[in-house]
Symmetry: C2
Subunit: 406 residues, 2 copies
């Protein structure tokens, strides 16, 4: 007998039929003698409608009231799923964030989980009752409802699995696992049986949409046994595991790409100590996150150019900040573009195989793809390329690293 | 400076524009220096949708989960109204049933209010903050959400007014007050400036849909100063007041009618003591509420007939119960019809004017309307008539009692 946390996203509970389907998946675990805690999101579309109302009635709305409104989506789903479970003979009850309680800090709209009181829930689970838990929501110290930010139900599920010391945390979604790359642009992509937390973390933050970065980091910290699998098929999914659980890997795990990038180049900066700190200090103060940075010699020997990538949404803001400081920074020109994509090769294997960077750069060079910025970490290499080469680059790298399905 | 409880029903908060309109009505009180606690229902239609989902997913649903689901309607409205108020410069915060808490018993779906903790809310009201309170919902002793039954927001408002010792409780609705009778069938009906709690109680339970019976009873018990008024006009409404606040009334207050009636006649019962107890005991055991009863001599001298009225929804159930006990009760036949309407004349004036019954019976007799069952109390006389005479009876009595508007 095991204790299993199951998490179902908005598309998995989008209507009553799908909620009944979820109930059957929960029953399958119960029938095997397992204890089950089920975390659910709001029915797909509901949260968007609630957010839209809140925005329309007051653009600068009180985040506490916003949270009160949007938390109702999950409240409806837990009630409906509990009834659906009871209807097929499974004892079940719903748990709202404030009922456990799942305690958070007071940062409404993007709250962090501080503690989950699971004493009563454990008792009920032990008695055979299924816990149906509202994802995405918690209770602030002052007794108001908080929400964890979009996609927060993944984080709720992992935090609950950690608090309950669950044997497994299954994240049900509309894909059947983690793929070597996006199957929509690379038909030879295949599902991975397992990836390490570190790899998943890189892939999540590099554009793979399967899991929220935050939930992976939390699972890694608490060593939660995570599985990503499909709500709509019985195929086994992808296990996200501790590095020690995986035998030495020979291949890299996947190719990620992120189209939501932009690139800014500042030309002709004085080549002197402290100039990079000047540029990036200003941006950090205004909450602009910069990703990859490269500094290169300018045509004028006493000058230097700095190129960096950042999220597409922040580009205009960043350009504005830099131009406002033109006199102080002393640069000659600024150039920006959204026509860039970040392509990343991710894998623990990289640590034991020094040739990965060489293979990546050669493969892209053969196709005539210019690398605008390069950045590496222990288990990933990312490059910024012109957007029109995205599909070509992903497919070529997928083949070059031996990931094509037989 | 006064403390005012305002209650807005579902049609008053049916969309964002109407919620903004409600915010302006609240602001009007705040601008006059008053403290305001605002009780709101769910947006019109929302509760029906939620109830429908709960029914569809499980016809025999768990009432605790049902309450969890349907309570979300009010949760959305309090958030939206709080934001709308803040947007026009009014400090406001939402209060859910469990946040005050408004404590109820554990009868889910039809909970009774036990106690409201208003300590923190009083502090906030005193500091000038408007309290936006979710109607219809409370907290059971075991920490689950309860609801008070349909129309329960009226009761929430009156209970809150009592707990806060409010100076006034204004029930905003889609009519501008309590009328002498239904203006849709009697164009000469006019709005009453005031009615007593007792009259309002009779009118509410006799079919006038303005206020929930339960909320009137609670207002009477706690002597809450109640006003029924329109959300859509500035006209003064109808005050529901203590008997002592009204000078001796000369006229009766109104004509009520209830079309949701049925009539059952049991023929040829043995005319012996205990036979009525036998019939009505069985019905009471099965939770069938009987209203008016008349017992009359049968054609056979040793036999008797019993005729009674009851709610239309219970008719089939009642006939079934009686027929199942046919042998034990020893009657010869049973007759039932839904083609009946209850017409009532209500007014404190009745106590000082003995001629009311005579006027009523003569008026109806002149129009050729047969009285099938009669029932009286200190301040009302009700008769059961054939449904096709409903409008004629109401209009004739309205004229006969001098209620027609000039």
């Amino acid at each position: 007998m095991a204790l299993i946390v199951q998490k179902f996203g908005g598309t998995s509970v989008a209507n009553l039929d799908r909620i009944r389907n979820v109930a059957l998946r929960v029953k399958a675990e119960v029938d095997q003698g397992h204890q089950a805690a089920v975390v659910v999101s709001a029915m797909a579309g509901t949260t968007n409608q609630l957010v839209e109302w809140a925005r329309e009635i007051g653009p600068l709305h009180d985040a506490r009231e916003y949270d009160t409104i949007v938390a109702t989506g999950e409240q409806v789903t837990v009630g409906l799923l509990s009834i659906a479970l009871q209807n097929i003979g499974i004892d079940a009850r719903s748990w709202l964030g404030w009922q456990m309680p799942l305690k958070t800090d007071e940062i409404h709209g993007a709250a962090r989980i501080m503690d989950i009181d699971t004493a009563l829930m454990r008792e009920r689970l032990a008695s055979g009752q299924v816990a149906v838990v509202a994802g995405f929501q918690g209770l602030a110290p002052d007794g108001r409802i908080t929400t964890l930010g979009r996609g927060g139900s993944d984080t709720s599920a992992v935090a609950l699995a950690a608090a309950l010391e669950a044997d497994r945390c299954d994240i049900y979604t509309d894909v059947d696992g983690v793929y070597t790359t996006d199957p929509r642009i690379c038909p030879k992509a295949h599902k991975l049986d397992s990836v390490t937390f570190e790899e998943m973390l890189e892939m999540a933050s590099l554009g793979a949409k399967v899991l929220q970065t935050r939930s992976v980091a939390m699972a890694m910290r608490h060593n939660v046994n995570l599985q990503v699998r499909s709500s709509f098929s019985d195929a086994p999914g992808t296990f996200v595991v501790d590095e020690d659980s995986i035998v030495e890997q020979e291949k890299i795990s996947g190719i990620a790409y992120s189209p939501d990038e932009a690139k800014i180049t500042i030309q002709g900066l004085p080549d002197q100590p402290g100039i990079a700190a000047g540029v990036f200090g200003q941006l950090a103060d205004q909450h602009v996150n910069v990703d990859m940075i490269v500094q290169s010699a300018s045509t004028d020997a006493k000058k230097t150019d700095i190129t960096f990538s950042l999220g597409r949404v922040d580009m205009e803001k960043a350009v504005g900040i830099i131009e406002k400081n033109k006199e102080k920074l002393g640069f000659s020109g600024i150039d920006s573009t959204q026509n860039v994509t970040k392509i990343s090769v991710v894998g623990m294997a990289m640590r034991s195989q020094p040739g990965v960077a060489k293979t990546m750069f050669e493969t892209l060079a053969e196709k005539g793809i210019n690398l605008q910025v390069i950045s590496t970490s222990e288990i990933k290499i990312s490059v910024l390329i012109s957007s029109e080469y995205t599909e070509l680059a992903v497919r070529s790298l997928h083949t070059a690293f031996g990931l094509d399905e037989d």
